[in-house]
Symmetry: C2
Subunit: 421 residues, 2 copies
């Protein structure tokens, strides 16, 4: 009887409200298949943990702790921003990976991340062929940017979308109350440097039952001050106030980020600002309205307290599916979400070849942005609406969510040499 | 049989996640006492509605709609920032109020607001004596700033406190995941220009079960760059990362707001920024750490989706109490929250004379700030903890909270002349 292969699981890139739900899907499914798969070792801080042999033994965690990952945001094992070079560029990295995998009898590589991570995962999948070491690499999709191809949506996005839609609704109610004598314009800056998926989600705040005067600034649309100001003026005239969602990635006609305004403080030092205060300043200069602005930043992607149930379910299912694909003997694949219908929302799991995923960015379709460039279309709404469905509340204690912090017990190192990142 | 007097209710100043719960308390209690109190007319946009005779007939709203106010943030009737002058300074305003009250048979004045509103309410309460018009003025406390005297806490604050504590916990989990190769410092800017109550609530994010490396910047403590940077450096050294809560009201040793940095854009225009990016810049300059920053702004006070149950209950109870005090014949008073015990948390309603409330700001006690000036003390924690208890979730439809928008039917005007604000 041969010894079962262990698995390596790591979280990569910007974390989300539901990436730990994928981790729970991986670990719980592996635990149910102990006759087919050995231990799950998690990389401490992503793939860096594999390179430095900093492995975490997830078998030391209780079933309760692993289940609690389903309602705990961020990366329970630590994440990293680190992209493997090609085999030609840095052969030593691959040899080190093989040394660590061999030392710990690792035959499965589960990598939980976005576009860059899919590329890393694809590179690892090739070790098998190119360096003759048997490893199956499976990528588990995760990105608030929602920009991975093939899969209908990416875990992490639905919860950010819900956060942004709920926040815009709430802030719009607030500014509507204040508009008579005070604030008339509210601006929320959201993530999305290259694609407007998150900004688009702000559009969901306005519904047929409760229409709101929203203006959305997408990174896909070159900012035009005159048109924008005119649009805001129209909204304030009609509704008494206006709510603006602005993507951090909005650019001017010079191709530069609007947030990159060359701000200097009193001492002449460069000041890094967001785009929200820049927009606020334009409102003040051109319209004279009182404004308020907010920058959601990490709050939006960490907001497990208002996570979408659909998002949590899909994140978990994709983690579970990765283990099943591994057991089936697959390599260089990524489980995906396939949409069956919008309403009622139905989805199933699919599979994509990693070669068709890595380094390909899914842009928001043009038909999702309204003709004036400041709103979303009905087809965009149909796409987005199901993704924010359901409230997956975490348990609370004393008024705070009960998020788990794992013990993260280290696996004893077996290699004598260190590896420098 | 004399005709029952009607009541005027208005919302004032910055709105909150639970001010509408107070409105529900007023209206539902009045409806239960229809043999003692007539109609409840709400001021459109606060007291301005009384001056311009823009009254809303709340009797046109269904019981369901009024009940839904309990879970709807912001001001359902509109609010305003408007302080009545003294009788000597603007007698015309008071004469106008009397004319409107007389025309609509208004004998009760319920004013729902903070310190400025308490002052306005006190002035109205004097009409009775000084101008001989019978009116009972009752103030209903509301302010996220938690700075009204006598009452143990102010409705609106508990929910902001919960939002800030939950958000800091979530963002801290996020930055902890990223710290190895990326962001090491996260900064959240919160409200509180004069008092650090809201910033202090960030301290609740760190618990015995789940300690977090928090640094709090209070408006009560003069900012000292060297000490601050040292503190952040210590936290990063020990925990690998650091989370900072900064109050918008933090000032430097020159007495100026830190946010007021004389920023200029590329064209030399003044740029209004928050304090979070200023703090971020100091981190970059002195420590070189990668950072992220967020400005919560309206999101924090509008976040009904994560409101505290204690806060909602108290807001409602204070609205209900105001009506009972009116029926008892009281004038120039404000119902208050009296704390009986911290743990288990017990509270009851009390009453304060408005003359002891108006224009008095309750500062945060010195003993609530730790000796180093960057954290909260155990006594502060004991005070704050009960206020964020319980999750008063709103109902949802299609992934979004079902907030109510009232019909807000106008009462027919009876006066022929208009009044200019």
């Amino acid at each position: 009887m041969t010894k079962l292969s262990n698995a390596f699981y790591a979280q990569s890139g910007g974390v989300t409200a539901v990436i730990n739900a994928s981790a729970a899907g991986v670990i719980e499914t592996a635990r149910k298949n102990q006759n087919k798969i050995g231990k799950i070792y998690a990389g401490k801080n992503g793939i860096i943990g594999a390179l430095t042999e900093d492995l975490i033994d997830t078998s030391k965690e209780s079933a309760t702790a692993i289940a609690a990952l389903k309602h705990t945001p961020a990366g329970a094992f630590g994440s990293c921003r680190y992209k493997l070079k090609t085999l030609n560029e840095n052969r030593a990295e691959y040899e080190r990976l093989i040394a660590v995998f061999k030392a710990h009898n690792i035959g499965y590589f589960f990598y939980n991340g976005g576009g860059d991570s899919a590329d890393t995962c694809l590179k690892v999948s090739k070790i098998s062929k190119e360096l003759g070491f048997p490893i199956q690499a499976i990528h588990i999709p995760k990105t608030v940017d929602n920009d991975l191809p093939i899969t209908d949506c990416c875990p992490g996005f639905g919860s950010v979308a819900k956060y942004v839609a709920v926040s815009m609704k709430e802030a719009s109610f607030d500014v509507a109350s204040m508009a008579k004598t005070s604030t008339k314009v509210f601006i929320l800056e959201v993530m999305g440097r290259h694609a407007g998926w998150i900004a688009a989600a702000g559009g969901l705040a306005s519904t047929k039952d409760s229409p709101l005067p929203l203006v959305i600034l997408f990174p896909e649309i070159t900012f035009n001050r005159k048109k924008f100001i005119k649009k805001v003026q129209e909204k304030v005239k009609k509704f008494g106030y206006c709510s603006i969602v602005v993507s951090e990635g909005v650019k001017g006609s010079n191709g530069q980020f609007l947030s990159d305004q060359g701000l200097k403080d009193a001492f002449g030092h460069a000041q890094l600002g967001g785009v929200a205060p820049v927009i606020a300043n334009l409102i003040k200069e051109d319209l004279g309205f009182k404004y308020h602005w907010s920058v959601a930043d990490y709050l939006q992607r960490a907001a497990r307290h208002i996570a979408s149930q659909v998002d949590v379910d899909q994140a978990y299912a994709l983690g579970a599916s990765a283990v099943k694909l591994a057991i089936e003997g697959q390599n260089a694949v990524m489980p995906t979400i396939e949409r069956i219908s919008d309403h009622p929302y139905k989805w199933k799991l699919g599979t994509a070849r990693l070669s068709r995923v890595a380094n390909i960015e899914k842009k928001m379709p043009k038909k999702f942005i309204s003709i004036d460039g400041f709103g979303i279309t009905p087809s965009c709404e149909r796409y987005l609406k199901p993704l924010i469905k359901g409230e997956a509340y975490p348990p609370y204690k004393d008024g705070l969510p009960k998020y788990v912090t794992l013990k993260n017990k280290s696996v004893k190192k077996k290699l004598s040499n260190n590896f420098k990142i």
